[in-house]
């Protein structure tokens, strides 16, 4: 049931009155007042386990402390999170949790973002009366392709178990043994190997589960998060890009219940590694006529050259012989700019290559491996298939081709090679060096993931923003800039000076975007709806 449909309930927490929908638990109710009720096992997108006991609160007329996570608000309820009874219980839980914890913060990856560490500072006593021998457990256990487990740091909150039971339904993890020897592990013969295993690391409040691809790489306090969107498939999971020294070290899901809740897939999580391993195109390259080999040229001469060549071909053979290949990897602004350029040159054909792999799953993963295929249709003017376009090239109907963030020579093999031979002019815009870039008459460098602002539309029609955390590489730019520079030389309008201007220019071309500006999209995106006026969700 939506919150608005539930009866409002008024209660008092730490002397302050609050009204929340019926059924809200005390942790969430307190949160609305800015009161933190500390917890380890509770997670808003998992079932309630109630095992850590950290969220014990004192409720008037109830003899025992109650756990806030599994207690629903009731009218007139009086909750005290800081009474002596509650504080004593919480300090007890803190002390209990630490007696068998190794306290190896100096060498633990979680330090700095460890809930146990933070709560120990905020809610512990700063000391321990424990003097005995700690329980020892397995350490450095390779439990899956991406995950390493430390049984001593684990506080048995069971979030990871519940995630594998309730979200992925893969059931790899369980509790084994009893008492203070209780340990989390995989079932015999099983590994923590599912498409979302990295989420267990995000969920782990301590350093018990670490990601092989991140552990020991960076101290988290050096990292700065850029809120962005994963570009790995048509879902567009909201993410944080953790950046230090102009490099992405980690991608983690950013909570957005309308898109990905608290999750993301492992492929998306590790997608930045693939980007980092790719050879970049940093400067414009022109094929030296007759001499063979490419030479680097500055941006403006490159734009002039492109405009002149396209203009000449249009004059000789007609504007209809100029076509484009747009991309689901490009942003809305870039797709719109390509569409504008083709139109300015007198052409109309724009193809959208399909990048599908596997199947859509029941959770997040989409078989469409591009982030913005929807945008290519909305703003990019995509109107034909690659097969149709290549055939038009072979038959001479198309003599010049502008390729945006696509690599048809690699993806379409012999067919594309033949088509290349039939072209008078191939202009490619890409962030990496590809076979198509190498075969181009002119190649222009564009920004890679994480280097630029851009808007994209996911498969459900949600408009979301990509944000930059990295400096642009050499002379690369968002592709809308060179595309519109060329278009302006063919009689197009002035080139937008900023992303926001580019977005507004794009929005003005698409009826569905009427009246939308970037602030309305916000961090959580905006569901596009042709029937009602778009509203921001903060």
């Amino acid at each position: 049931m939506a919150d608005s449909q539930r009866e409002p309930v008024t209660l008092t927490i730490d002397g302050r009155s609050v009204t929340v929908p019926a059924g809200t638990n005390l942790i969430e109710a307190a949160r609305t007042l800015g009161i933190e009720i500390p917890h380890f096992c509770y997670h808003r997108n998992l079932s309630i386990a109630g095992n850590c006991r950290m969220c014990l609160v004192d409720i008037e007329k109830v003899p025992k402390n109650q756990i806030a996570c599994s207690t629903s608000v009731a009218p007139g309820m009086v909750v005290r999170t800081r009474s002596e009874k509650a504080v004593k219980a919480r300090q007890g839980v803190m002390e209990f949790l630490l007696i068998n914890h190794p306290l190896d913060c100096p060498i633990c990856d979680q330090a700095g973002e460890c809930v146990l560490q933070d709560f120990s500072y905020h809610y512990g006593t700063g000391g321990s009366r424990f003097e005995g021998e700690k329980v020892h457990n397995e350490k450095n256990v390779d439990i899956g392709p991406h995950i390493v487990f430390d049984g001593e740091r684990c506080i048995k909150c069971t979030r990871c178990i519940r995630f594998c039971d309730e979200v992925t339904h893969t059931h790899e993890l369980a509790l084994f043994s009893r008492g203070d020897h209780t340990i989390i592990g995989t079932f015999p013969g099983s590994r923590l190997d599912n498409d979302y295993s990295g989420c267990t690391v995000d969920l782990c409040p301590v350093g018990a589960l670490t990601l092989k691809e991140f552990r020991f790489r960076q101290r988290v306090w050096f990292l700065e998060n850029t809120p962005s969107v994963c570009a790995g498939c048509g879902r567009g999971c909201n993410v944080d890009l953790a950046i230090n020294e102009n490099r992405i070290w980690r991608m983690t899901p950013r909570e957005n219940d309308a898109v990905n809740r608290s999750w993301m897939c492992d492929e998306g999580r590790l997608s930045f590694l693939r980007y980092q391993q790719t050879e970049r195109l940093g400067r414009a390259r022109a094929e030296a006529t007759g001499a063979g080999g490419a030479r680097e040229i500055p941006p403006e001469p490159a734009w002039e050259m492109a405009a002149a060549t396209l203009g000449e071909i249009a004059r000789k053979h007609g504007g209809g012989t100029i076509a484009g290949i747009t991309s689901g990897h490009a942003t809305l602004e870039e797709q719109a700019a390509l569409s504008e350029l083709i139109a300015r040159a007198g052409g109309s054909r724009i193809a959208l290559p399909v990048h599908e792999r596997g199947e859509d799953d029941a959770l997040l993963i989409r078989k469409d491996k591009t982030a913005n295929a929807a945008g290519a249709r909305l703003a990019g003017g995509a109107n034909c298939s690659m097969e149709e376009l290549l055939s038009a090239v072979r038959t001479g109907q198309v003599r010049a081709l502008v390729v945006l963030r696509e690599d048809p020579l690699a993806d379409f093999g012999e067919e594309a090679k033949v088509a290349r031979g039939a072209l008078d002019f191939l202009l490619t815009l890409d962030w990496r060096v590809t076979p198509t870039v190498n075969a181009s008459d002119l190649a222009l460098p564009v920004s890679a993931y994480g280097e630029m602002d851009g808007s994209i539309v996911n498969f459900e029609g949600r408009l979301q923003l990509l944000r930059p955390g990295l400096r642009p590489y050499q002379e690369s730019d968002p592709a809308w800039r060179p595309l519109l520079e060329i278009a302006s030389r063919l009689g197009g309008s002035a080139v937008p000076k900023s992303f926001r201007e580019a977005f507004r220019w794009t929005a003005s071309r698409v009826p569905l975007f009427a009246g939308i500006d970037t602030p309305a999209v916000g961090k959580l995106g905006l569901q596009l709806d042709s029937t009602s006026s778009p509203r921001g969700e903060a």
Binding site: N51, L56, A89, R129, K156, D180
Partner: protein
């Protein structure tokens, strides 16, 4: 007043060599109550009768059985009655006797209970180590089914009730009703969060009532003899016969049946034959199984019923009466107990999981003469931080005895610190 003349109601059959057979049980009037309930009474009438009898659960908490049943939703929906036959409380051995020696009494009571709450499939969760009791009970269920006393159309009444036995795998915690249900569902035996209570969401998510073996063994008596007759046994609000398990330093340890409210000293000194050794006086009694606070000898003038023992600061619990003479070292006894709870803690919630092991470490160093004075207050403080803050009563079940042993026998604990040895004369030779 002595109870020498009391003739047992629950244990009346057990001395026959063939007491476990259906024939013997029927000969002594068995299954008349079931027939009466099914043919002459509505389920509501049975429930009202049990309510009126004042029967309180014999598993430990003493919750009124009729009220517990009345929490089950009325109507036809799927619901379950589960028999808790996971008797594991140290010092407790009454349910095993009933199951081994008079299984049909247990079964008859259970079937009547199923009828009262509208359960068509009852489950008996029996402690895994009870191999013999399981065998006997299984035979009893098979014989009852063959005789038309269980299964389809019981005694021609149109009431169907299947009975399934399920053996536990040896965890004390599975005697806690929600851990029992988890285990019965094939999961790891760990207590559930409450609410929801089993009467709303129990076995397989259906409304469920979980009852102790001895509790249901009282039900045929109530149905056959009537609630007012039953309520006249024992004391107000503490009605009916009760099985007391007497163990420890007495001459005749065993299971004794008397009305609720028998004086503890009468039980120990008359019926159980008094102290084992003449020169070893009574030091203390644990009156209700290992989980309850201990009574020192001078506080043993108390009646053995729920309310009298609560007034004395302890509990009737499972009526496992553990008698200790002055050879017992209380540090050693508590260490032994703490080890049990540390071993049996399910490991789910923080205070119990971590606290039980910590208790053991502290008590172990006290026992070895390596403790400190501050350890005594630390033990008490840990109890404050565990009790009331855990998912299930196991935390309370260890915190309460620790607090009471340390408070009642503080001198003795202190002696272990200052003199580095036992005050008990002499220390038990067994360790």
């Amino acid at each position: 007043m002595s109870h020498d003349a009391y003739s047992p109601l629950l244990l009346k059959n057990i001395h026959r060599a063939d007491s476990a057979t259906l024939a013997a049980y029927r000969e002594s009037g068995g299954y008349r109550a079931l027939e009466r309930a099914l043919k002459e009474m509505s389920p509501e009438q049975v429930l009202e009768e049990v309510k009126a009898s004042g029967l309180r659960g014999r598993g430990g908490a003493g919750f009124p059985t009729g009220m517990k049943w009345s929490f089950m939703p009325k109507g036809e929906g799927e619901k379950y009655l589960v028999l808790n036959a996971d008797e594991s409380e140290p010092g407790t051995f009454k349910d095993r006797l009933l199951m081994e020696r008079d299984p049909h009494l247990v079964l008859e009571g259970f079937l009547i209970g199923c009828y009262a709450v509208g359960c068509r499939h009852g489950y008996i969760y029996i402690r895994g180590e009870f191999v013999h009791a399981h065998r006997v009970l299984l035979k009893a269920v098979e014989d009852a089914r063959a005789a038309g006393l269980a299964g389809k159309n019981i005694l021609g009444s149109g009431f169907d009730c299947e009975i399934t036995l399920y053996r536990g795998a040896g965890a004390y915690i599975c005697g806690e009703e929600t851990a029992l249900l988890e285990s019965l569902e094939g999961k790891r035996g760990m207590p559930r969060l409450k609410p929801p209570f089993p009467a709303q969401v129990g076995l397989y998510g259906k409304p469920t009532s979980v009852n102790n073996v001895e509790t249901v063994a009282n039900v045929p008596l109530i149905v056959e003899m009537g609630s007012s007759w039953y309520a006249s046994i024992g004391r107000p609000k503490n009605t009916g016969p009760k099985l007391y398990c007497v163990s420890g330093h007495v001459r005749r340890p065993g299971v004794y049946e008397f009305p609720l409210g028998v004086p503890l000293k009468e039980l120990v000194f008359e019926h159980a034959g008094g102290m084992l050794r003449k020169d070893r006086p009574l030091k203390a009694v644990v009156p209700g199984g290992s989980s309850v606070p201990i009574l020192p000898a001078e506080k043993c003038d108390v009646l053995m019923d729920f309310d009298s023992l609560a007034a004395a600061g302890t509990m009737l619990g499972s009526a496992g009466v553990i008698v200790m003479d002055d050879s017992v070292c209380m540090v050693d006894a508590l260490l032994n107990l703490a080890r049990f709870y540390a071993h049996e803690s399910c490991g789910q919630c923080t205070p119990c999981r971590e606290g039980c092991g910590w208790y053991v470490q502290i008590l172990d160093r006290l026992e070895r003469g390596e403790g400190k004075s501050s350890d005594l207050d630390l033990l008490l403080d840990l109890s404050d931080r565990i009790q009331g803050n855990t998912i299930c009563p196991l935390g309370d079940a260890v915190a309460m005895p620790v607090r009471s042993y340390v408070n009642v026998f503080r001198d003795e604990f202190q002696h272990h610190v200052t003199q580095k040895r036992c005050l008990a004369k002499p220390a038990t030779a067994s360790r």
